[in-house]
Symmetry: C2
Subunit: 488 residues, 2 copies
């Protein structure tokens, strides 16, 4: 069902009412609600998978795994709420002897207000309607309005219905979760510009994310827009490692590059190495792997078309040579794995070579020497991840390079590949601009809840009226900082 | 010394170089540097106080106290860095048995990059050149460029010199701290718009803060602008408390209102109560206190002029009556304490009555009944603080009112006054827009360091190359989350 402007205003109003109501519920009820959402998703029959297969061309196994990840997100974020992780509860006790007397001050985190979520096409479960943004905003105490992704509307509806059942079962107000199909950009923009909305979560393209940032910038009240916009995830191939394991690394790299037809924001689309025999050996194996890779259907024809066009645009840049393309010709809607190369010098003078080609495409930058590798690293835009394929000896000799790389990425990986983002507290999925619009927050893992909270201090507040997490006897049994000491 | 555009570019470049260098120093060296800054400020002779007195008209006692607070900020933020509070260090250990294998992921916080600080006129020490924004950005590992406040240029220079001495003594690069006098807005804007700058701290007026937000919105790369823009800090006078302690409360309220000639962002400029005999009794005592208050020199003549003009604008609104003005006439440059009143109905229909009158001015809103008090609270813009003068019985009967108030403020106070902001971990000094441009962070207390950091994850990184805070044997002996459990 598409929605009118009046319909959107009604939904916004209900979200605001729900926000006030949720604020009075306490954390236990919220945790129960989140676990009910997880149970509702878990109980969904095979229709969820078959519908998503039809809408996204993703294989059954991948979707079954993604369903599990989605359930895990709801459960692990509920656990984090139960542990009080995202509250940062702290207490500074009074000192009446001091001049002037020191008051009793206590601090917790509360929800920002209604949140709009724009999901991703490449994770129809884990980063769409019932995905990480929705789960983390609910965990923060915020009602959520999801703009249904046009790439998988039926899948989105199944997930929305599951959440709505949990809302009802848990005694939460209707406005806690809304699911909106927008026909026009104008309608979607209302979900960012309206004063009721206090934050926006987005996963998708640079263009899409920045369009939302722009709408937000026109608001009177600034709000955070958490846009995760992808990156080309550079992989640095250091000489010691290259010498010993070129062939094996090339196979692993090809695997990460072509996984899911390259449709991951952490797809390693850029590889940087020092020119020479060892790199040639790596490339030889890589070329064979790429030629063997069977073209596969991408999420939708628009993405496949964009892949072909963007790849063409990139390989037509000065100094770029195509090294290998999948031998089997791609049908319409499919993406064919492709590897190209360019010299360090040509890379350094052309920003167009840093454009993301969303799909199974890699550009290999052949540098003259280690200094040129550092120069290339210094030129890179902000990235979600950066990977070093290296020996410990390589690392010891690369202090300068590592320092440069740390400053441009959100996650730095040693002899591993960036695809397959682990959902855990220590994961940072985000990074310096333009990989995300706000480098200070992750969109994966329970710390993503922090995107949607703000601190609230209570001064000299009577114990019985404090929220449970700040009461003297710590009824929630959570970790808190008391006079600068962590304690339970 | 004023600075040219080229001079600013040179300073920006040096700040960027310093950022890279500081990133390699480790936390211990940073802590030593911060303690050296504290020692340099502590060692400053009476010239600091006399200069600040001349430039700000603030009394000696207040400035001596503010110097102490400033030193305490540097020391307590250094302690927080030493304890690892702002790192949120966490480790998720590997599980190679799992399919797919779970990698080892570790997360810490790193500095955002060079930060520009625009200080406040009303705290020439604690919120200016060597104030909280500078201390917290340095604590985060960020170089700082301070735009000297034109209201106290000589004071600013003394503080800048103290910091520069500490920079040199501590072996930090020159670009760690820069002090710039700007003659034009264009020069000041460069300190926000340049791509090298990664965050901005500001304390001052709504107009000033939003001008910086606007400059930042025009950047290609979004950056956080932490503008603390003040508020009118509503005080709710509940019936039970009013009945028992009207006279005493009126005296305390007058004291908070006129403290420092009302020149605090937490000055309680709005008082809301239910009309009747008890409120009349409160007002009677308040009027006497206000009449007795001696007019005093404000920070500079511009502020005194603005006070008089804004007060005039507010009291000329429909339905506003002046209740009392200080009896002794104010000289040029002085501010005379003033109290006015308005009905709840008139307040509800006129947003102009929520404009901040920076100085010793209060507007009393006389509501018909408790419902109108809730209506007024619901109408309020975002505030740094809100205060309830109430008995426990009042609180018990005010669930709805408290819920509304919590949603519009950053700190909620019970039978205490908002002026005198305690520097401690549990303090939240910030609040929903328009009291600040980013409600998610405090500008007072060690948690203010978080404004200037971003997370960085390490995946499968060899132990010897990890930053100390993430190494297996925890050499810094800090609290960390390991597999979701807090541990040392």
């Amino acid at each position: 069902m598409n929605i009118s402007k009046e319909g959107i205003e009604n939904i916004l109003q209900k979200a605001q009412e729900a926000f006030v109501a949720i604020g009075k519920f306490g954390l236990k009820k919220r945790v129960t609600f989140m676990r009910n959402v997880a149970a509702e998703i878990e109980a969904l029959g095979p229709e969820l998978i078959t519908t998503a297969q039809q809408e996204s061309h993703l294989p059954e196994g991948r979707l079954v795994g993604e369903k599990g990840r989605t359930i895990f997100q709801w459960r692990s974020y509920a656990d984090a709420v139960e542990r009080g992780d995202s509250l940062d509860a702290s207490i500074d006790t009074a000192n009446t002897e001091r001049t002037p007397p020191k008051p009793d001050i206590r601090k917790t985190n509360v929800g920002l207000g209604p949140v709009t979520v724009f999901g991703a096409s490449n994770f129809p479960f884990a980063f769409s309607t019932a995905g990480g943004d929705t789960a983390s905003a609910i965990a923060a105490g915020c009602p959520v309005i999801v703009k249904a992704h046009p790439g998988h509307p039926k899948t989105s509806q199944i997930m929305a219905d599951a959440i709505s059942r949990a809302v009802e079962k848990s005694g939460f107000p209707e406005g806690t979760f809304s699911h909106v199909y927008c026909e026009t950009n104008e309608e979607a923009q209302l979900l960012v510009s309206d004063p009721i909305i206090k934050a926006v979560g987005f996963t998708g393209s640079y263009r899409g994310g920045m369009a939302l940032v722009e709408v937000a910038n026109k608001r009177k009240e600034p709000i955070p827009v958490y846009a995760e916009m992808g990156s080309i995830n550079p992989v640095f191939l250091l000489p010691g490692k290259l010498k010993t394991s070129a062939g094996e690394l090339a196979k692993q790299y090809a695997g990460s590059l072509t996984l899911g037809v390259g449709q991951f924001c952490t797809n390693p689309g850029l590889l940087i190495g020092t020119d020479g025999e060892d790199l040639d050996g790596f490339i030889e194996v890589l070329n064979e792997e790429i030629k063997k890779a069977a073209p596969a259907y991408m999420l939708h024809t628009g993405i496949a078309k964009a892949y072909t066009e963007n790849r063409q645009k990139l390989v037509s840049q000065s100094g770029v040579d195509i090294l290998a393309v999948a031998t089997v010709e791609a049908e319409e809607g499919q993406g064919a794995a492709t590897v190209a190369s360019v010299s360090g010098i040509d890379f350094l003078i052309n920003n167009a070579l840093q454009e993301e080609v969303f799909g199974p495409f890699a550009l290999i930058v052949k540098c003259k020497n280690a200094d040129e590798v550092i120069a290339v690293a210094s030129k890179l835009h902000g990235q979600l991840t950066a990977t070093l394929l290296a020996t410990n000896e390589d690392l010891a000799e690369s202090e300068e390079l590592v320092s440069v790389i740390q400053n441009i990425c959100g996650r730095i990986i040693f002899n591993n590949f960036p695809t397959g983002v682990e959902v855990c507290k220590s994961m940072h999925h985000g990074g310096p601009f333009p990989s995300s619009s706000n480098s200070q927050y992750t969109s994966v893992g329970a710390d993503s809840i922090r995107r949607f909270v703000r601190p609230l201090s209570f001064q000299n507040w009577p114990d019985e009226f404090l929220p449970d997490e700040l009461k003297n006897d710590n009824p929630l049994n959570i970790w808190r900082t008391v006079d600068n000491e962590l304690t339970k």
